[in-house]
């Protein structure tokens, strides 16, 4: 009973938040609604007994990803309204519905056709975090290491791409030097 109430409440909240994210014309509203939706999604993971996944969802998505977006938005002009593509709304909604139903079919087809057998069944008497640790560090050790290397590559790429010209400190320079740098940048943009 409580599970049903929690499910419908969080389903409603998540759908509303993501709808706001997709439709609003203010980038800041979209960011805030997306962060709220991420937290509500972690509630589903807790309902489903995937405690560790729920905690990771909160830490990584609302803690790291949303913080990166918030920092990234400081570089952009987010105060003006966002322009939208002008197109046939029926086509957009129809195409996305068809694609989503296809995704569900892909998920559910193997379950309908055969009786699924659990490859790595839950271990009796172990909490979710313990189970996750056992499976992650035995069967999925290599993907785990590859994911770690991928995160390292992403970190280096982020620093290299966003950190250009960060060796110059505008606060320590005099006004004339800043003007020179601005002129150089204007030349580069024009060329």
């Amino acid at each position: 009973m409580f599970e049903a109430i929690a499910f419908y409440l969080f389903a409603f909240l998540t759908i509303v938040m993501f709808y706001i994210t997709v439709t609003t014309s203010q980038a800041l509203y979209a960011l805030t609604a997306l962060a709220a939706g991420m937290i509500f999604i972690s509630a589903f993971f807790f309902i489903l007994g995937a405690d560790f996944l729920g905690a990771v969802q909160i830490i990584v998505y609302t803690g790291a990803v949303m913080a990166i977006y918030a920092f990234g938005m400081m570089f952009f002009d987010t105060t003006r309204d966002v322009k939208e593509k002008k197109g046939n709304k029926l086509i957009v909604v129809g195409l996305s519905t068809v694609a989503a139903i296809l995704v569900v079919l892909i998920f559910s087809a193997p379950m309908i056709s055969t009786n699924m057998i659990a490859f790595y069944p839950s271990i009796e008497g172990a909490g979710n975090t313990q189970e996750v640790g056992m499976v992650l560090f035995t069967k999925y050790l290599i993907p785990f290491e590859v994911a770690a290397v991928m995160l390292l590559v992403a970190m280096v790429a982020g620093i290299v791409l966003a950190g250009k010209k960060m060796d110059l400190s505008i606060t320590l320079m005099s006004g004339a030097e800043i003007e020179d740098i601005k002129k150089d940048q204007d030349k580069k943009v024009l060329s």
Binding site: A11, A157, V160
Partner: protein, 101 residues
């Protein structure tokens, strides 16, 4: 009323539809990234639900890897967006047609 696997799959479908509609109608690249996050999250819900109802941890493992991929995608994508914004002063998709494909 018992909540079954189908409830979660339907919810996942609805969220996926919302995200996909966002991807199709957004012009600003930052908001397009937000829509891709919605897509990844909706699939994560499906993975976790299947993992729970079949007593198999593989779904949760894949959800972890999806989260890791989403995090690295955000880092690289935002870096590229910042470079683009420094050059051109906006991040609209229409201005990125320099290859005239």
């Amino acid at each position: 009323m018992e909540i079954g696997l189908n409830h979660y799959l339907v919810l996942s479908t609805i969220l996926f539809t919302i995200g996909l509609a966002g991807v199709m109608r957004r012009k600003n690249l930052l908001l397009l990234f937000f829509s891709t996050e919605i897509l990844l999250n909706s699939v994560n819900i499906a993975f976790a639900a299947i993992s729970h109802y079949y007593g198999d941890l593989t779904g949760q493992m894949f959800a972890f890897f999806v989260i890791a991929i989403a995090a690295s995608e955000v880092a690289v994508g935002l870096g590229l967006l910042i470079v683009w914004f420094k050059r051109h002063g906006n991040i609209d998709l229409e201005t990125m047609s320099s290859m005239r494909g």
